[in-house]
Symmetry: C2
């Protein structure tokens, strides 16, 4: 990744956040960075490539997987806290809606978000699997629905409903998920 490319993509992310996908063009990025349009066209012949590279850059900005060593409640609090931070404080949280919208008409954008969500789902799924291995859950408990609930609600609140995500909310959310996990185990 050359300096020119990173410079361009950083600017693209700023534009994406402030004005939307709509505003990310060779022209606007050139104006913001001082890079000439011809250079930008050489790097990204199509504007969708430029946008999608910016998407990928933002997706990477939201960080990696935390350590998991139990108990379930602690692991969930840590991972979902991580998700909250990503949504609240990294570029990803601010441009995710744009990626989602682009995914409706652009296969590359769809791939970006699919890769990203697969990672997140796998991370949380591993946490439940570890809890089951430790005997915190009944063997055979279907964890996939629990995983989706754990992740879906913060995304829904932040991106769709426009509701805040804070630590108090996180605590009660984790509480609910844990109770549901126990219930699923017992029922």
């Amino acid at each position: 990744m050359t300096a020119t490319r990173t410079h361009a993509l950083d600017a693209a992310l700023d534009i994406l956040r402030d004005k939307g996908v709509l505003a990310v063009t060779h022209g606007s990025v050139g104006k913001a960075t001082g890079i000439s349009r011809s250079t930008l066209y050489r790097h990204w012949p199509e504007v969708s490539g430029l946008r999608n590279d910016a998407f990928r850059r933002a997706a990477r900005s939201s960080g990696g997987a935390p350590e998991t060593n139990g108990p379930l409640r602690a692991d969930l609090t840590w991972t979902l806290g991580f998700l909250l931070t990503a949504l609240n404080e990294t570029p990803w949280g601010q441009i995710a809606p744009q990626v989602i919208a682009a995914a409706a008409t652009d296969a590359d954008a769809r791939e970006v978000i699919n890769d990203f969500m697969s990672d997140r789902i796998a991370t949380v799924e591993a946490i439940f699997a570890a809890a089951e291995a430790r005997g915190e859950l009944q063997p055979g408990t279907p964890v996939r629905p629990l995983v989706e609930m754990a992740i879906a609600v913060p995304y829904f609140r932040k991106l769709i409903a426009g509701l805040p995500l804070d630590d108090d909310w996180l605590a009660s959310h984790v509480d609910l998920i844990c109770r549901l996990a126990e219930k699923s185990s017992q029922g």
Copy 2:
């Protein structure tokens, strides 16, 4: 609402679905409908107005509130089934991501989605309140988190994760929500 306006907005919705917000302009709508650009500019001096009116039209397309008379499981199945249909088969499901993305930079779009989600949340909240009034839930059960879970997961699956929503999935989802409601009541 004149014939010209509805005609224009219908075309705008088609373009929105097929090509994204990006593609909805006075020019593209004019080409699609045969309506002259000057007329479209008279109706919507700014392109955001045109887009937002299309958003509102789609939001209305997803229909109204169902009857609720218990038991909780039946009401949830009915309402969430309604939501599934809306997401799978009406314009709303197809353009909601675009509205969400637009909401990040456009106050009008934010209002459209806020109004829409408030309605949906209130509908499901009323179902839980009725269940509580019938004695199906412990008095004082905090229903808001349950409501958000009930709605968030289908939205997450459809819009964000790109996963399917079918009747089998709905049944297990309702099942989980109901068990959680009981658990919340008891615990």
